[in-house]
Subunit: 327 residues, 2 copies
Amino acid sequence: MSPPIYGKVALIGLGLIASSMALAMRRGGLAGEVVGTDHTPETRRVAAELGYCDEIVETARQAVEGADLVVLCVPVGAMGALAADIGPHLKPGSTLSDVGSVKGAVVQAVGPHVPADVHFIPGHPVAGTEHSGPRSGFAELFDNRWCLLITPQDGSGAEAGADMGLGTGDRDADDAALARLRALWEGMGANVETMDADRHDLVLAVTSHAPHLIAYTMVGVADDLRRVTDSEVIKYSAAGFRDFTRIAASDPTMWRDVFLSNKDATLEILGRFTEELFALQRAIRQGDGAHLHDYFTRTRAIRRGIIDAGQDTDAPNFGRASGRAPR
Amino acid sequence: MSPPIYGKVALIGLGLIASSMALAMRRGGLAGEVVGTDHTPETRRVAAELGYCDEIVETARQAVEGADLVVLCVPVGAMGALAADIGPHLKPGSTLSDVGSVKGAVVQAVGPHVPADVHFIPGHPVAGTEHSGPRSGFAELFDNRWCLLITPQDGSGAEAGADMGLGTGDRDADDAALARLRALWEGMGANVETMDADRHDLVLAVTSHAPHLIAYTMVGVADDLRRVTDSEVIKYSAAGFRDFTRIAASDPTMWRDVFLSNKDATLEILGRFTEELFALQRAIRQGDGAHLHDYFTRTRAIRRGIIDAGQDTDAPNFGRASGRAPR
């Protein structure tokens, strides 16, 4: 086995992503030592019991001491205060990263607290399940999923990046730090891509943030309707609703922060969505079958692209218990 | 093995549901003989080659000759004309059923063509995949899924039912016919429930029709946005969008007919959905985190109910390739 990519890695906030990272780093022998912490005592206790970190400490300051890589794995809304707390204690030459689902707000909140001699490379592993908390991790979570690392906008150069706290202003050292973090994520099974924070937030508004809000809404509507009972909704959920509930079961705190901190892009996509939904509603009301058929035919093609790209299986029911591959 | 439930069963329209029914009936030894037909020659050819029916014939009239059970497995919009064609050829005392996703429109379109001595019991197996066509069936499709059989409204009695073409007016014979069809679906692995057509259409508007339209819309929006490329949408789909694309890949003709024939209930639920979505959008715009957090916490509970009811798995990624059960 090759030597570890980092000597000491500190994970702050021990939920689904951090516990999966710890297990994936162990699987790949990627870190000399993984230290974890969480502000909730019960979470620290569970993580210590499960043993996926080499050490669990009580405070973030203790965790970052001497760490070559620090990863913030807390909700986006909590990152600014956390960065202010640990900033002065980060090791010179080390790398600070995070796993938040929104990147512009993280750069704004964390960037000002990053010392000039620390490499700040925000990240976002595009992977998750409906589960959260210190027991929910598994080593395979990132396998064949994408991890996006945030770099300064093309053309703005290392110095502009340094103004935002992104990079140290030394381009060679910044490039080396990026290559090292990329190697870590690849070692954990992910495919890595770089982009700037604005683009990230727009793309994710389309592929994640708007779909989540829509799923939350639909599940809330079903729950509100007094004329259709909960047990009917649950029994007949296999007809489509079920897949919405999985999306709408994700961690409430994380998602509150996502919407509040990617407000503009999310609202813009939702505006486009509403416009389109109204057009389809009108087609239904007017009995315009040709419009509906054309629309539904077009959406099928995108699905084929996702399966071809290895981002889903086309097994019936996603391979749920009662299905098997079609002949 | 017990004797077959029906002597001869005719399946008209050989897509996902009919091919799965043929395989499930064969698995359970539920029919003496299964005859299939489809108006498309290529579909008949494929079905004959795969051999899941005992016989493939060219016309619906040929298929229903002497059949003890006839099941219409064509899009809802095609059922009226089909019923007019085969009605006079149905065997006295036999049962006519269907598998359409909408029931009020089927009762209206088919009912008038059902002879008085034939039992008309509309049905809807709440199960499906994103695949369609004569190659897509598998015997396990209905295992542990619900099948809804439509009976006249409570209190309206057998005679009112007979007016709608539901039942022959002979209550004992109608009860026996219903029990027999129920036994067939149970033999194919399903749980069976009865309800009237209006209730069916309202419940399914919530659990299936509105979610499908919403998923189609979201996928269409992503496809329309020129600023986010198709390849970005596809790569990062695992973040939520992916599950929408599965729903939005279902058969376009079937879904066009569903929306056109369950117009009122679908539009009503979509109206409620839009209202709720606007409230959440306003909460985002105003930065009302408490409202969002409360809402997202509530929707989590419904998910738990679905897993407890055995209608889904809580394995990460639904057990997709890269996931395993959490510890």
